[in-house]
Symmetry: C2
DNA sequence: GCTGGATATCGAAACGTTTTTATGTTAGAT
DNA sequence: ATCTAACATAAAAACGTTTCGATATCCAGC
């Protein structure tokens, strides 16, 4: 197995010093066009390519971006964050970076466990998807690594973030139902402390009030733990148990919407004739379930791409820049919503 | 920003040489229990952790495993390979590796493009998912890197592979239909040159023959290009156009099964009453589509995990070991199949 | 013609490990 | 006691880059 050429071989063959070759390869410094040419020629002839670890050692860069996801989100293979992750993979390649994925538990203690790529100084920047312990974030901050948050934000600390336009999405959803003649519009949410869910809830509230619609508290289920299908089922159950008689439901996300549909079907209610439903996220199965769910589309791959662009910008920038991006959303009308047949008051 | 400790700091504080500290850290060589202890104590006190790139440079290892996927499979975000990929991510963490993902086009020419992690010597082993150009494989071989193929195999060259038990899966599917009384069972496939699809087709054929069922050629659509939903639709169209009157269809995978369902519905045929359908793969939406699809479950994450185990084994082994694993499959009966009501002969 | 600032190239140090070779020490066999 | 083998530690080389400071050349401005 013959050794692959090193920068030394290139320098020798080109009759130049290591430093000059390095400058050419990195497109840096003052190198005359002539020597540049000849170096490039030799590089091509030897088909030389610098070794990542040597480069990393000397330049203190890794060429990697860390992607941190909470354990629950990863192991349940949630389609939402998976899509964001794939978006980062895609964009990272464009910028000559690789993505290193890791998961973290809910409680973070730097004494106990720190993502390995941080210990090994094996990333140049970090993307954090979804809600994680804030101690983890400040720990990474203290390492001086650029951070970009995706679908999560922290009011106090200033970090770049890529966010869903939750307020607008929820407004679109509720306005859609109002336009169809619905007034008794229930809200079904879980994990209400999550900034995204809070926003959706508040926008729901606001939109109804703006339209002059005021409902009893029983129309809002906000104390569910998880924004999962199961959470949706149990929330819907309690919604009806509380005596509410909604003609439409706005669910905090598609998973919960599916849970609602399940429960409604089990009650013998027809969707959308008896109860209309709008979800949020537009996960893949939403368009396959019966009935196809009307929802708010979120460009998940796009969010991942933007996150990578931000983190790469930060890596290259001298000064710390903070950019918050709200990714636009879109109402996708499918089968789960329909105009209210007759108003019963 | 205070410098993080190096192995030198540890050695100094412990009053030992670099080499001894290194031996302790890597759990190698003869180090007395006493010194081992004291080194570990200092490591803890300084919270020292070796730097990946330095380690990589010295030991010529990267701590990474490359995952290669064809461009089409990645960009269409095919849920099948995505799941395998997530499985590798999961297992890699257990073995202290990271996965580096890259995609390759259909035609491979080492003169034109080589995955960057190969050029940079940034992986210790390679996992290849799905069908790729064989020139790529032999190129990697010539680099001396361990290779594990997933859902693909090459007859000539001997490589470790993790395969679906396609033969058994297809047999289960067809036997299930036979047991329900079906005889006119059509096969709908695409990309017939892919080893997995070929196997499914041949097992279909074989199972029918064993049962004494012989059908005209029009019952087999094997010349479709893609194993996609669209491919399924167009294949189903041609199936009926050819005059075949199947009471059941065995589709080469779930995507095609969905395409078939779409076409059958557009023809006004009821599933499963008029035509029963069995798919293959058990992708997520199969259990959400109406009707829920009877299919062959493939443990996709498991395949990714096994692939990582194999490649890690190969990395650690001195000699080249070749292991072929057939991952078991399972028949999942859902709504798209039902007993044949009345036999019309 | 001298000075000073670009421009172009080089030499050497530095990056933080692992690995190889050497050296000393100890215990068991003779 | 002596020799040998195993064990324990050390010293130094090697890994392949980048980067910093030095040196040399060139040209414009006075």
């Amino acid at each position: 197995m013959k050794h692959r050429p090193t920068i030394r071989d290139v320098a020798r063959k080109a009759g130049l010093s290591l430093s000059t070759v390095s400058l050419v390869i990195n497109n840096r410094g003052h190198v005359s066009p002539g020597t540049r040419e000849s170096v490039q020629k030799v590089v091509r002839e030897l088909s030389y390519h610098p070794t990542r670890s040597a480069r990393g050692l000397a330049s203190k860069t890794s060429g990697n971006i860390g992607f941190i996801l909470s354990e629950e989100h990863f192991s349940q293979a949630e389609p939402f964050y998976t899509r964001i992750f794939l978006g980062t993979e895609f964009e990272a390649r464009e910028h000559n970076y690789y993505i290193l994925l890791t998961t973290v538990g809910n409680q973070f203690d730097p004494e106990v466990y720190v993502p390995r790529f941080l210990l090994e100084r094996n990333v140049d920047g970090i993307i954090i998807a979804g809600k994680v312990n804030e101690k983890l974030i400040s720990h990474i901050d203290s390492l001086g690594l650029p951070i970009v948050l995706v679908d999560f934000e922290i009011k106090r600390a200033h970090h770049s973030a890529v966010l869903i336009d939750n307020w607008r999405g929820a407004t679109l959803a509720v306005e859609h139902l109002l336009a169809l003649g619905h007034k008794k519009i229930a809200f079904v949410g879980g994990d209400i402390r999550h900034p995204s869910i809070t926003d959706r809830y508040e926008a729901y509230h606001n939109t109804l009030h703006m339209a002059g619609v005021f409902l009893e508290e029983s129309y809002e289920v906000t104390d569910e733990e998880e924004t999962s299908v199961e959470g949706g089922t149990s929330a819907a159950e309690r919604l009806f148990a509380s005596g509410a008689k909604p003609t439409a439901i706005f669910a905090a996300n598609d998973a919960m919407a599916i849970g609602c549909i399940r429960h409604l079907k089990s009650r013998g209610l027809r969707i959308p004739e008896d109860v209309a439903i709008v979800g949020f996220d537009d996960i893949e199965i939403s368009s396959h379930i019966e009935p196809h769910i009307t929802t708010i589309r979120v460009l998940k791959e796009e969010m991942g791409k933007i996150a990578v662009q931000r983190v790469v910008d930060s890596i290259n920038a001298k000064t710390k820049i903070v950019v918050t991006t709200h990714v636009p959303v879109e109402l996708i009308v499918r089968e789960s919503t329909v105009a209210l047949a007759h108003v019963e008051d």
